[in-house]
């Protein structure tokens, strides 16, 4: 069964790995997502919420993927940045302090604040690798959650913050799930665009090199301190962005929204999708966030079934649904404008 499941995925992968196949698939998925809220069916509101929520996790997944998937830094406290973004917006746009700043102004601020927190977390853990890093970041996530629970004067503690302002776009108040559904969709596209460009750039290459061999990366000139902090900052920035959107959508936030399970879920969806793979994050989010809701009809057996699927998945395909694939970059002789002194070779080796 393991073999058959794996080869089925392989075939699907092959089919959609040709450029045309891939664009057709992307077109179908995007089209379906775009028209979903317009179709009139009984459970529409439910589905809009679930897919919107999945989109939010895609954003978080793309952010954490920069840290874990590309730079190879195991961060178990990612929820902290999500919380910082959410609280930044909630405090600056609600009746709590009676401050009402526009969503579009707070959004970049919340993301920058989270990014800054990312750097602050990064500095003390620069020298840590692997398990040690995971433990410290895990603690960081908990510290932030404890802070928002206990700093009652600032955050209203476990009572949470309610009555958070809705964003306005050209005079239109964004308050329904459908509004946020489309807004999240746009941010998912932006996040995919940005992280993909980073992945393929000098910055992304340096991150991946660091993940593969930190010492060797430093030896070829990568300033590992700077690039580690940069990856924490970028990941946290995206997490903060997601947090602010979440706060605006929900209209109220509580410390409980930011528990360890969020970090674990985001990390799991990256692993299941395929470490470092952007399409993997998308598929992983649907598998981990949408699927449990579909399984709701099995009521009490839901989590059992879900857990079983995860175990089967990890046995059958430990590298994830869509393992990260590197780009083909070798040019053919005629494409190479002025080939250098290619004659000097050590041919015959290998």
């Amino acid at each position: 069964m393991k073999k058959r499941f794996s080869s089925l995925l392989e075939r699907i992968n092959e089919r959609f790995s040709s450029p045309i196949g891939r664009w057709v698939l992307i077109g179908i998925v995007v089209g379906l997502i775009l028209i979903l809220p317009m179709i009139n069916f009984q459970q529409r509101a439910f589905w809009v919420r679930v897919i919107g929520y999945t989109g939010l996790y895609i954003i978080l997944g793309l952010g954490l993927n920069v840290v874990v998937g590309l730079a190879g830094l195991l961060d178990l406290g990612y929820v902290a940045f999500y919380a910082i973004g959410a609280y930044a917006y909630a405090l600056l746009a609600s009746g709590h302090f009676d401050i009402h700043i526009s969503f579009w102004l707070v959004l970049p601020f919340a993301a920058l604040l989270a990014g800054f927190a990312g750097i602050l977390l990064g500095i003390p853990v620069l020298r840590m690798r692997g398990d040690y890093l995971a433990i410290v970041t895990l603690g960081f996530g908990e510290i932030i959650r404890m802070l928002v629970t206990n700093l009652t004067d600032l955050t209203n503690g476990s009572q949470g913050l309610i009555g958070i302002d809705s964003p306005y776009l050209f005079g239109l108040e964004l308050k329904t799930s459908t509004h946020f559904y489309y807004m999240i969709f746009i941010f998912v596209i932006i996040a995919i665009f940005v992280t993909q460009r980073l992945d393929r750039s000098r910055v992304g290459r340096s991150w991946i090199a660091m993940r593969e061999d930190e010492d060797a990366a430093q030896m070829v000139g990568v300033n590992t301190t700077r690039y580690k902090l940069l990856s924490f900052a970028v990941g946290a920035f995206i997490g903060g962005l997601g947090g602010a959107i979440f706060a605006a959508w929900q209209g109220s936030i509580f410390p409980d929204n930011f528990n360890l399970m969020v970090s674990v879920n985001v990390l799991c969806l990256i692993i299941i999708g395929g470490m470092g793979s952007i399409p993997g994050v998308v598929i992983g989010s649907f598998a981990l966030i949408t699927l449990p809701d579909i399984l709701r009809q099995f009521a009490d057996y839901r989590l059992l079934l879900f857990g079983f699927l995860l175990v089967v998945m990890m046995i059958a395909r430990p590298e994830g649904f869509i393992p990260s694939r590197r780009r083909q970059l070798e040019l053919h002789a005629e494409e190479l404008a002025h080939a250098g002194p290619a004659e000097i070779t050590t041919e015959g080796g290998a």
Binding site: R197, S201, V203, R205, A216, L230, L329, A337, T345, E347
Partner: protein, 263 residues
Amino acid sequence: MTILASNNVTKRFGGLVAVDQFDLDLQELSIHSIIGPNGAGKTTFFNCVTGFYPPEEGEIHFNGTSLKGMSPDRIAHLGIARTYQNIRLFSNMTAIENILVGQHPKLKASLIDAILHTPHYQKEEKEAHEEANRLVRFVGLVGLGDHLARNLPYGAQRRLEIARALASKPKLMLLDEPTAGMNPQESAEMMRFIRNLRDELEITILLIEHDMRVVMGISEIITVLDYGVKIAEGPPEEIQRNPRVIEAYLGRGAASGLGQNSI
């Protein structure tokens, strides 16, 4: 002209003195070998030069600049590149990507450039890709550029590591046992290749090597280390006859017994 000068460099690991008051004067555009029995401190010295292990005492100057307190990435920016005894490639990146990472010190693109794809960034990337492809050709890896480094055959991995080091256009290259695990024919080709690096690309070569055929065939100067101490230095013919060197390799008594046949 001296390109790399090591004065009195000492590196200790706990009570063990791995490199002991080591002086080295490396002439520009020379091919200079460091030899010595296992554990003599050769690789440790490489690690001192590249900033991986800061030496406890002494100082290393590169082109007149002191390397004291510099991190490996800054030293790489100055124009020193190295390869490793046990190949250390970025295994899950393609050959071309490995070379692109090697070009890091020569590129300038920032996070913002990468996101916005500024004209400057696009030009730089295009040139970097072409350069990487040229290097693939240069080291004879045509057709293997898009393979993951870990899937390449051993010899190709060795050559890729050199290509990655070349990508930063270094002035000095430290090669740590470049012919390890190669048959005589492959070693001979590697020797020719190394000589070409110096002759064509004008890169100074500092070499650690165990294969005496390679060492004697290629080196202009040889420095012999034993227990971290320099015991001899000179041209190959002289080193071959030096009784202290023979003793270090074969033990006391062997020096008188074997005379000058071989090391």
